[in-house]
Structures are given as C-alpha cells and as structure tokens.
C-alpha cells in the first residue's frame, strides 16, 4: 500500500478506489472531518477545487517534519496576482442589495481561496472561541426585551457545553497559542476545560501601542489566541514573526492551518486520497432522491469525472456549498431545500475599521498579524454567559496594521487621496517615501456581529457564468440596523483608544453599503436547527432532507457571533464527523487521544489508530458497519440524529 503519491493532482493513498466518505473541500471543516473519519479507519476521498502548495504533504521530509511549502514572503504572488484567491476572471460572483435590483458582477464578493487546506492557510489564524451566550442568542435577546424586526435570530441546536470538548480538541490539533489565566486572559471568554496548548505570542510593537491606549481607557486587551507556534509543536517549527502573515501561507509551517494539522493527519493515515484541481460541479441523487449517489467534477485537463461514496460531506465554504445544492437540482430550487431556507440567513461580520496614523514608525512589516485583541466591545458580560445590560452586540477588536507596501500604496492611490495630496503640494513619491499608510499605520478592526436575515441570501445568477458554463452565486445582502447601530455606538470609543495610544490622526475606513461586505468570514445559508421546516441541516450537520449528505463548513452557522469563526468551524466539523463514526457517543472519539503526528514522525509508520481514538471503539464501529445492511444503518443514524 502506498501512503504518499507522486501522481500529479493527487495526495495521499493512490491505491484506494472505494470510498466510505467523500468530502468536497479540504479547508478547515473538510480537513477536520477527514481527520476524524480516517482515524476511525474510514476510507475518504477529498475533492479540492484549488491547487496544492504543499508538495509532499502526505510524506515526511526525512527528519520527521513536513516538506517545505511553496508559500513565501512574496506580495506580488499572494496579494497582487491571485496565487490562491478565487479568481474573478474565471469564477465571478454577482452582488445586489435587494431583490428589486439587477445584480452586478463584482471582483470580490467575499472571495475565499482555492487551495489545499482552504482559506485558513492564508488567514491570520486568529482562533478565539464563541461564548456561551452565542449559542442561545435569540433567547437572551428576547429575555432582554430587545427586538430587531426583520432579523431571524435563533438559538443554536446545541449549547456551548456540548461543543466545548471539541473546541479543546480543535485547539490541541491546531496548536493555539493564548493566555487562559487572569490577568492576561480574555475576561469575556466562557469557561474552558483545558489550557491553551501553547503560550501566548510575543507582542509586536503596534499591538503594544494600541493595547496601551485600550488599557488607558479602562479596557482589558489580551494576547490574541492564534494557531501559530510559539515553540516547536506537532513536528512544526516556531514562528519567527516574519511579518507576512495574514493573507500569506506560512513558509515554515509555523501556522497550525488545516493543511499541516488535520489534513496532514488524514493523508499520512493511508486512508485518504485527495484530488486537487478537482472542481465539483454537481451532486448526483439516486432514484429515491433521499441519497447522494456521487458527484461530478471537472479535473485539471477539463475532463468531467465522477466519484462515489457512501456518504458525502459538503465543505466547500458557505457560499459554494449552498451554490452546489442549487446547481444539483435541475429545477434550481436546491436539493435539501424543503424548508425554503437554503441559501438564506447568510452572515458576515460588519468590520468597523479604525485607522490611526502615528508619528513613529510602527514596523507593521514585523510580527504576526495580530498579537493583541479585546472583547470589551462584544457587548457581553464577563464569562460570556449573558448580554451586557446597556452596550450593543459588537465584536472582538483586533489590533493590527498593514505589512504590505504595495497594497498600502494602492490604497493611498485612491483618486480622492491623490487629488488632496496634489492640492497640498505633496507628490506621489513623497507619499510613498513618508509612508503614512504603511510604516505609521495602526488599525483596529471590530468584527461586529451581523443580524441574520432571511432576505440576505445566495442564489444563482440568471445571466453570469463561470468558465465551466455554470451559473455563478448571486449574493443579495443588506446590513441590518442591528449591526449598523453597534458600529456607530463603538466608533467614538475606538477613536478614544487611538487618541489615548498617542496617534496623531484617527479616522475610519468608509462604510460602503453598495459594495459587497468583502469580509472573509463567510457563514450561514445551510443553517442548522431542530425543526426541518426552519432549517436545512440538523444539529449534527446532516441535511434534514437527505440520508447521507452532511455539511461541515461555516454554512451551518445559525448566528455569526462577533468572533473569528474558524475554530468554531473546526470544532463543529470534528463533532459532525464524530457523530458519523460513533453515532451513539460522539465524544468517544476524543477519549484516549494520546499521540499526534510527532509520535508518527518518530517511527514514520502511519498508524491511524494512534492518532485520535482508542482502536477498539473505532474497530467496533467498522464491524457494525460491515455487518449491517446499508440502508438499515442509515436509518439508525438518522434516528439517532433526530
């Protein structure tokens, strides 16, 4: 059996030809699910639309480590020329703010990436948890007498305590660095059963400057939890604070992104085959229309291929997962859409971006993306279990800056800015040399919670097509007074922090309602819930309408919280996969987890049982599967899920 592949377009075990599960997308959710399934002995096929920038991710480099990736401190490649981001010239999307409008094709409708490991590979991997009140927000708002007409707040079909063990597992797998003891810890975080696996990140200058302002104003900033190694961990090297972080893949695998953590584990298990540059275009239903029989995809030669498996897990990210459901139904109503909620309740984060220009150089070109953050503007009480009595629900505030000179120069090239500069006798060259928007820039970003609204939705554009000839996603989105009000409430407080930090100038990035939100936090559309009339997926991520289709990405989110969502996506996907392999007791897969990839690397013998679970329960599940008629087993699953 071959565990690693020299075949172009394939990672993992090329010898596999029959699959228990097929996962669409190798991002945070898909990789987490692949890890749990392969560790339990399931044979898994992953289809990834993007390219692979981790050559040899399925093998060891000779010293037990991961071979180097193709990522680098290269602004042209990563930010200017679309090395990883979904390319609007071949895969456009359209946007409008209401049903009455004609949608326009727009180059950036919340585009994520196309690559093995997904968007988290190039994110700043800020991995906070959601808090307890996030999972029952509708009840909390109702109890507080706060009503938001047009918003569709709902409680999640699970509570924080149920997800907590999976949060812990996600943090261990990803190697999250953070502080969990007072006075350093985030006072608004909910209780945790285990410490962060790694100590906090070393502070960077701009983070210290802004945190200083926040402390002077009486707030409580904390070290931002990030899946970035602060010591050697999991066979990966420590971060060196190279500065090219958010928007960049890590050249030394110090970021605990899905590729080098969960996906890596799946690939070295021998139970996984990943085909990249494999663009899924359609799910195929069987005659009963209760089961997905397989999928159709286009490979890198432009040929249409088919793949089948017993179960299918959608993890293509919220917009693309909803789109696939719509594309797979000849009537375009969408498979799994008996509720009519498919594609609806789309969520982003309304980013309120406060900008400070400081007299001194702040060296944004050094450090991680974000080393300090604060939760004081989330609008909740300490401990994360209740709403703040007076303050609205905003979000985490991240203290950062720009590390990219070309991108910064492009921003200061906005025609208005150039016209002003000319008026005061300032040349473009002088703007670049003095570099106020690069070297002297500090940025506070509040990730404000967006109210869910049924009218904010994804459907298929009637006119615009991608290069496959398929209708592209059309986003209809308009912000609710809920989040606009919170943004207006916290803006003056953000200016106070900038002033207290010593800034010379402060202002905000303009809010432009006529353009797409552009946030990379893309959630909702396949909302989970207990009532099949009000939701698309059940509390385990299984489609209410289908017996063998699951969603393991941000699509299942009921509300968006005010925190970066990736850790929650991973925790939910781990839980969904755990429920697939161990329906009676999902948490069983978390027990007995004693060895990671480090242990594997030592003897270089893939041993999938060592990685996540006690061998016996996994084997028992498999035996049960083999001995049982297929349909019968699905009914059992459906029953237990219900």
């Amino acid at each position: 059996m071959s565990f690693s592949s020299d075949t172009p377009g394939i990672l993992g075990n090329t010898g596999l030809d029959r699959f228990d599960a097929l996962i669409i997308g190798s991002g945070a959710g898909g990789s987490a699910a692949a890890h749990v399934l392969t560790a339990a002995g399931w044979k898994v096929l992953i289809l990834e639309a993007g390219d692979n920038h981790f050559p040899g991710l399925d093998r060891f480099d000779g010293r037990g480590g991961i071979p180097w990736p193709l990522y680098s401190n290269d602004e042209i490649k990563m930010s200017i020329r679309n090395f990883v981001r979904q390319d609007p010239l071949v895969e456009p999307r359209t946007f409008r703010t209401g049903e009455a409008e004609m949608a326009r094709a727009d180059p950036d409708v919340n585009a994520l990436t196309r690559n093995v490991g997904g968007a988290a590979v190039i994110s700043d991997v800020i991995y906070p948890r959601f808090t307890a009140v996030d999972f029952r927000l509708a009840t909390a708002l109702r109890d507080a007498g706060r009503d938001f007409p047009g918003a569709s707040f709902a409680d999640w079909p699970l509570v924080y305590e149920e997800l907590e063990p999976f949060y812990t597992e996600a943090e261990q797998l990803s190697g999250v660095a953070g502080a969990d003891e007072a006075p350093e810890a985030d006072p608004f975080a909910s209780p945790r059963s285990a410490s962060y696996p790694l100590p906090p990140q070393p502070p960077m200058y701009v983070g210290r400057v802004l945190a200083n302002g926040a402390v002077r104003m009486g707030y409580r900033p904390f070290p931002a939890p990030a899946a970035i190694n602060t010591r050697p961990y999991d066979g990966r090297s420590p971060c060196v604070s190279c500065g090219f972080c958010g928007g960049y893949g890590c050249p030394r695998n110090a970021k605990g992104s899905p590729a080098v953590t969960t996906l890596r584990r799946a690939l070295v298990s021998g139970n996984c085959q990943l085909r990249y540059n494999a663009h899924v275009t359609r799910l195929l239903l069987d005659a009963t229309r209760r089961r997905v029989a397989g999928v159709e995809y286009v490979d890198d030669d432009g040929q249409t291929q088919r793949a089948t498996a017993d179960i299918v897990i959608l993890a293509a990210s919220a917009i693309e997962s909803a789109r696939l459901c719509l594309l797979s139904d000849p009537d375009r109503a969408g498979i799994g859409n008996s509720s009519g909620h498919l594609g609806r309740h789309m969520l982003f984060h309304l980013q309120t971006i406060g900008v400070g220009i400081f007299k001194q150089r702040l060296h944004g070109e050094r450090g991680r993306s974000v080393t300090h953050a604060m939760s004081d503007f989330r609008g909740i009480r300490e401990g994360g279990a209740a709403l703040h009595p007076d303050w609205p629900l905003g979000g985490i505030v991240e203290f950062g800056t720009s590390s990219e000179p070309i991108v910064s120069a492009r921003e200061s090239l906005r025609p208005e800015a150039v016209a002003f500069a000319r008026a005061v006798g300032l040349s473009f060259k002088q703007l670049l040399v003095e570099s106020p928007f690069h070297a002297h820039l500090a940025v506070m970003t509040m990730q404000g919670e967006d109210a869910p609204q049924p009218a904010n939705r994804i459907d298929l554009d009637p006119d615009v097509r991608d290069v496959f000839g398929l209708p592209v996603p059309r986003l209809t989105y308009r912000n609710h007074p809920f989040e606009l009000g919170a943004s207006a409430f916290y803006k003056p407080k953000m200016l106070e922090i900038l002033e207290a930090a010593g800034a010379a100038y402060g202002f905000f990035s303009p809010f432009e309602p006529s353009v797409p939100p552009r946030s990379r936090h893309v959630l909702g559309g396949l909302r989970m819930g207990t009532d099949p009339r009000e939701s698309v997926c059940d509390r385990w991520g299984k489609f209410h309408d289908l017996d063998n289709l699951y969603c393991a990405d941000g699509g299942v989110f009921v509300t968006g919280s005010g925190y970066n969502p990736t850790l929650t996506i991973i925790a939910l996907a781990l839980r969904t996969a755990a429920a697939i392999v161990s329906p009676a007791d999902p948490e069983r897969v978390l027990r007995g987890r004693t060895q990671g990839v480090e242990a594997l690397a030592a003897h270089q013998v893939p041993d999938h049982n060592a990685m996540i679970s006690q061998p016996e329960p996994a084997a028992a599940v498999l035996a049960e599967r083999e001995g049982e008629p297929r349909e019968g087993r699905r009914e059992t699953l459906a029953h237990e899920n219900a």
Partner: protein, 402 residues
Amino acid sequence: MSENEDQTKAISFLLRSFGRRQFLALSVAAVGAEFAHRFSWVAGVHAPLAMPPPTGAQGFLTAEEIAVLGAATAVIIPTDDRPGAREIGVVDYIQSLLSFLPGSDANCDRLVTAADVTATIHKLASADPACIGGGDVDGNGAVDGHDVAAATSAVFHARPVFAGGPFSGRQPQPHFPTGSLACQSCHGVSDGVPRRITERPGSALAENFPSNAFREHLPLPRLRAMSWKIRILGADAVPEAVGNPLATEMLETDLRRKYRHGLAALDAASRERFGRSFAELDPADQSSVLRQADPAFVQLLTLHTVEGMLCAPEYGGNRDRLGWQLIGFDGDSQPLGYTIYDPAVPGHYRERPDNPNSGPNPDEDCRGFSEAMERFLSILSSTSLVAPGGPFPEPYCLDVPP
C-alpha cells in the same frame, strides 16, 4: 561542457532533424528564421537569467514603446535626490509582465530558460501535451511553430508569474537549533544580529543562507492559466469566459492591447501638442500630457509602477532593492524573521537589537512627517470621504523619547 553549450547542441540537432520542410509545412518559415536569429542571443546568456535583460526591444514592447514607457513611469516616480522609476527598473518589470506567456515553462522544471525552447520544439515534433499549458506558449490552444518564437521571446524575460517558495536566500537561517529549519547546526544569529557564516568552506553547513526558490516559476493550473491569458491577451483568448462580464470590464485585463494603445496615444498627443515624441519632452510637458491622457491607462501605469518598485526583484523590478530602500522596507524576512526562538530566555524569544519586534529601532525618533504631509493628513482625517475622526491634540510615541 556548460549547460548552455548542451542546450545549443541539442537545439541545433533538433533543428536539423526536424527539417526545414516541416517548418514550412506548418507555415512558420519566418518563425524558424527569427528563432535562429534570436537563439544566437540566448546562447550567450546564462540560464536562468540572473539579471533583467538590457532595457530594449526584446519582448512584447518595442524600443519606441519602451522609451515612452520609461518616460511616463519617470513622471509618476521621478528621480530626485533619491532613485526614481528609471533607476529602480520599473520598465523591466512591465516588459516582463507583458512578455509573459502561460506555457513558456515548456519542460515544467519551474525555470524559463533556453531549455524550454528545446522542449517546445520537442513538443512540436511529438505533439506531447505534457504539463498544463506547457509548450503552448502563445496560448492559442495548440503547440505549433509560433510557440517556438514565443518561447524564445519568453526566455529573454524569464520572470515568473508566481515565484517559487519558501525562501529567497536574502536572509539567513536563525540561530538556535530548535528554531532553525533545515540547517540544524548553523549559527547565523547569535547575539540577534544576522551574519553570513563561511568559516567552514566546502562543508554543507558552510552556507547558512538558503537557496533562492523565488527564481522558480510555479506552474499554473488550468483555471489560473485561463485567467492569465485573459489578463495578458484579453477575453477573446479564452472562449470559456464568454459569460463573465468581468473578463472584459476589469482594469487588469487585455494588458498587451491596453499598453500598445495607451503608449501610442501618449506619443500621438505629445506630437500633436508639442511636435515631439513623448520621450523627448521636458518633465513638465510630459506631466501635462499624462494628466490629459486616458485616466484608466494612467491608473494602470501607476499600479504597475508601484508593483515594479516594490516587488521581489525576481519579478524584474526593484533593481538592487532600491524600491524597498526608498520606503524603508526590509523586504522578505524569512527564514530569519524578527523573533528568534530561544527556550533559554524569558518568553522564549530573543529580539534582534537592530530590528526589534516589540519596539522601535534604536535610532528612531518621534518627529513625524513633513509639513506638507501634516497638512495632507489633517485634511484627509477630517474629510467626509473617510468617516471622520481628525487630528488629535497631543500625539506621543510609546518607547520613543519626544
């Protein structure tokens, strides 16, 4: 025998065995002749090309166009007491961008060298589809005689669309064994200051700087290759883009045509107004012509000028890293970075005293900006174009004495 001599022999042999008749059958006699002429130039060049080609007519833009382009980018970033677009080599960046063709790495070794001309001829002979797009240099969907000429041209501008990774070799490995990558016993940084280690000549560990992977050309998968054809050649080159309005609307598409038309229009306008070519005008008149030119083209020029100034030098611009020096930017910092892992110190990280992660450089002050910049920032921060804040009354600098 050098690599180049090998390639010369291989290509001569191929040309002989391939035969002029077959070239004629493909209606590319002229291409063959041009190729033979150009190859004499290639053979004298080290492969891969270490430096940008001399600014001139090789590549997509002609010598006349290069002259206009050089003058126009020098209006955007003029030379004063500091280097401008000319010294920084912005023209070479743009010429490389326009001369790039998706399949020019015909042998898929991630370098564009004379060997790719050989490989293109091979593919022409054998109709070998090989790697994605490789050999179909001009992107017309077929490997044919035109690709030989196109590959030859591409060799002159051997610049990647996507440079390889992870390291450029400009920075050393960090010091401490547990913090280092491949070079477990290298000691490039002991007191926080990086230095080149050469005390063990001949040993594998003598060099603590990694090799330069930025010179590699990463292959483009099918969809990215389509996108780059749209960028360089326009939407017409990719029939699959027919349902996408962005393929014709976006600024950075159809670049060859836009540059050809845009530069010609600049020259025509200056001849009409001043009776001389754009390149011969004095800077004030050039500036005046540029202000009245098509704003979309000027925007494109400005964007590419900035890219050519601040890109990694492997993309053809930022000559001698003059662009980075101009704005005080250190460039790519891996694998050294700014914090050096050391379990022996509190916090497990050492800072570089010259370039600390958590504070200002030792020689930095709190003086702020020029008078003009202060005026500019005051207006900008109080205007409604950006949601207003304003100047603050008592700015100060943390950790920097006033």
